[in-house]
Amino acid sequence: MNTVWLEKIKEWIKGASFIKVVVNKPINIEYAENIHINSNNNSPVFEYNEDRKLISINYKKLEPQDKENFANIAKEAVRRDDAVTLEKKSEERAEDIRSKEGASDVQAFLDYFKDKISPDDFAVLRAAVYIRKRFEAGADSSVIYELKGDIIRKYGTRGLTINNLYSSKYFENVIKLLYEGMKDSPDFSKEEFLEQYNAMISEASFAVFVSERKNAGEIRGAIEGKIIKILNYGIKKPVSIHGIGKSNIEMIKRIIPDIEDKYPHIKKSIQERAGIILVKFWF
């Protein structure tokens, strides 16, 4: 830690005019580690919290000469001495993110996906992980709304889709399995995985991910629900059905004829390799 700037602030405090007028008892700021600036009518011009090793300065109440000196030191702290100025609320959030990302399960999950998806998608996934952690910790809905708003503002619909897929555990239960299923294939390439992954993301609104926890009736119902939506709104997108593993592939293959019987004009394509199946239906 570069503490040059911190020492400069301590030196400035010792010589500042307020220290003689406001602080009427000896103080030892030698062990101070944190500086906090406020600017209001209520806080004292200077305060030292020994337990938190925190010096608080009320900039609004400084004398003009002290203001100028302090502003110069703070500016130099950032421009020359590597310090960061950060609003308390953001500092607390950054600390909270760091703490939640420090958990071994989160770290393992993020490490797994870090180099497998694009940096933008990874940033969204990281935000989605943080949102879920905040939700599980009982965060107020306004916090969740604000964080989801950050995703939408920066990454639009794709960002929201990734967040929704993560919150439905598709990254753990489907996308990770997709990668694991593909990676052992002799002609595996990252590009091929990304092609499948991107198809999942872009078609997620009209995709059915088949898992062993669902029975044939539930899967058929989910597929038909998507087909009805496409027909009702004239949507020019296919309904895609994703399955990983032998039993899921067999299940999907058993359902395909039922769908074709019910919708005789439906077209289909089937891609199957390395224990993964992708079926697309369209009109």
């Binding site: 906090h36 703070a74 590597d82 960061v84 100025t85 950060l86």
Partner: protein, 79 residues
């Protein structure tokens, strides 16, 4: 967090003044000497006072309060 000077929302404009920045009539942070010039984040985004979270080393690198700006900050501080 180490090496961080924190501030209350009430001190945002004072902090900006340390760096010769002010706020225009639409709420965007601008150069004090040239108020037509709005400051930008490294991603090229203009910064409104409401979303201003701080400044870090460099040619005044502006930090927004959104989660992605904080990810970048965390990654830089941990490097």
């Amino acid at each position: 967090m180490k090496n961080v000077i924190t501030f209350e929302a009430s001190a945002k404009k004072d902090i900006l003044s340390f760096f010769n920045k002010s706020v225009d009539s639409e709420g965007y942070i601008v150069e004090e000497k040239d108020p037509t010039q709005r400051v930008l984040t490294p991603d090229g985004e203009e910064v409104q006072l409401d979303e201003f979270a701080g400044i870090k080393k460099g040619s005044d690198i502006f930090i927004k309060s959104n989660v992605f700006s904080l990810f970048e900050l965390i990654d830089k501080l941990e490097r």
